[in-house]
């Protein structure tokens, strides 16, 4: 699974990245996590609010930090 965290480096983006890493580690999910800081790269996903969570190229959440349970559900389904 390919997970991307989109965000230009605000506090919320860092929180989401950490949270996702924790969930992945805790549940032994096979995934690569990349943080995307570049705004040009971020805009390719057509989002207007950060942070966004992208799984296998699809924007799953944007503009908010989902809870750990929600992330777990999104990643294991």
């Amino acid at each position: 699974m390919d997970i991307k965290i989109l965000g230009t480096g605000c506090a919320k983006c860092k929180t989401l990245e950490q949270l996702t890493r924790d969930v992945v580690a805790k549940n032994n999910i096979d995934a690569t996590i990349t943080k995307v800081d570049d705004i040009v790269e971020i805009m390719k996903y057509n989002i207007m609010t950060t942070p966004a969570l992208v799984i296998d190229g699809k924007v799953i959440t944007k503009g908010r930090i989902p809870s750990a349970e929600e992330i777990k559900e999104l990643l294991t389904k």
Binding site: G7, C10, M48, K62
Partner: protein, 338 residues
């Protein structure tokens, strides 16, 4: 699930109302029953002010932020963009200013939002009206103004903020400054971003209200407590006319000076408004105070540095200059009227 939540909300509101209604009574009871605190003494009155104002403002904040959180769940940047696409200048500016108040906005999303708007064909001036009103007119500022100054000042702030946002955006649009947007911005045409999160239920909207309370109140309460503590201390101890000579009505440069100090200063509404309430009490006229608040909340150095990624310097300077001028006009106007 929904019913349980609704029940919780209704009970909460009843409790809230009872507590709010008797807050002054509670405060007086606590203060007057502490031995050694004499009524009318500086310290007693400062403490009374603090013990009354902190819960009052926090309670107002919790209530309003909750409802604003629910209202905001009906507005998304995507919908707002759709409304603003290809709008003519003046009408577009008015819409953008109004939508800036209700659309969820976080300054860290300013860049993707700016790009999303401009690339979808929202005119530059209209985009700016949105970018000015969104951070300046926010629920925290309005509640604090309401709690500490009353509804008239809160309303004046919202209306003048709106006028500044509309006219500044209009002027930026008229000046045709598009060439000062970084050229790569227009190379990428934004496609219609689809609503990827789909419909949300009423239950989820309620949850969003709770989340907003947790996030916003959790972040700003400490500023409010500190701000009101400073206010309480000054309330009792700083002489009444302390600021009159420095920043009073007769000092013509008080408005430009307060904007000049306010622009580079960066603070959220929660930190600055309790302090400003002290200024007003100590002889700073309303217009000057208003100008100071608006320039601190609406214009900030960090925001300009972020915008530097997509805007060239002349446009940033024009933006700052136009908004600062608007704020000054409002400041002068209110000093003359009141």
């Amino acid at each position: 699930m929904v019913w349980k939540k609704l029940l919780k909300i209704v009970t909460g509101i009843i409790l809230w109302y009872a507590l709010y209604h008797y807050l002054q009574l509670f405060t007086d009871f606590i203060i007057d029953s502490i031995p050694g605190l004499q009524k009318g003494m500086h310290f007693t009155e400062a403490l009374r002010f603090f013990i009354f104002e902190v819960p009052k403002v926090l309670m107002l904040l919790i209530l309003i932020v909750f409802f604003v959180g629910i209202i905001r769940s009906f507005f998304t940047p995507e919908k707002t963009r759709k409304v603003l696409e290809g709008k003519s200048l003046f009408a577009g500016n008015i819409m953008a200013g109004l939508l800036g108040i209700v659309t969820p906005f976080c300054s860290c999303s300013a860049i993707p939002l700016f790009l999303g708007f401009v690339q979808a064909g929202v005119p530059l001036g209209v985009t700016f009206s949105f970018l000015i009103s969104a951070p300046m007119i926010n629920e925290v500022a309005v509640i604090l103004l309401f709690g500490l100054f009353g509804w008239k000042v809160a309303l004046i702030y919202v209306l003048t903020g709106l006028v500044i946002a509309i006219f500044s955006g209009f002027v930026i649009g008229k000046l045709k400054l598009e060439k000062y947007v970084e050229s790569w911005v227009y190379l990428h045409k934004g496609e219609e971003g689809e609503e990827s999160e789909g419909q949300i239920t009423f239950d989820q909207r309620l949850s969003l209200g709770f989340t907003a309370v947790k996030e916003i109140v959790g972040k700003v309460w400490i500023y409010i407590v500190i701000g009101i503590a400073v206010g309480a201390a000054a309330h009792g101890y700083v002489p009444e006319s302390f600021m009159t000579n420095l920043m009073g009505k007769s000092v013509w440069y008080s408005v430009p000076l307060s904007v000049l100090i306010g622009v580079p200063l960066y603070s959220n509404a929660a930190g600055i408004i309790p302090i400003v309430s002290v200024f007003i009490e100590k002889g700073v006229p309303l217009g000057t105070a208003l100008a100071f608040m608006m320039s601190v909340i609406g214009l900030s150095l960090p925001e300009m540095i972020i915008l530097k990624k997509v805007l060239k310097l002349p446009l940033i300077l024009a933006f700052t200059g136009i908004v600062a001028t608007g704020i000054m006009i409002v400041g002068f106007l209110f000093n003359v009227i009141f």
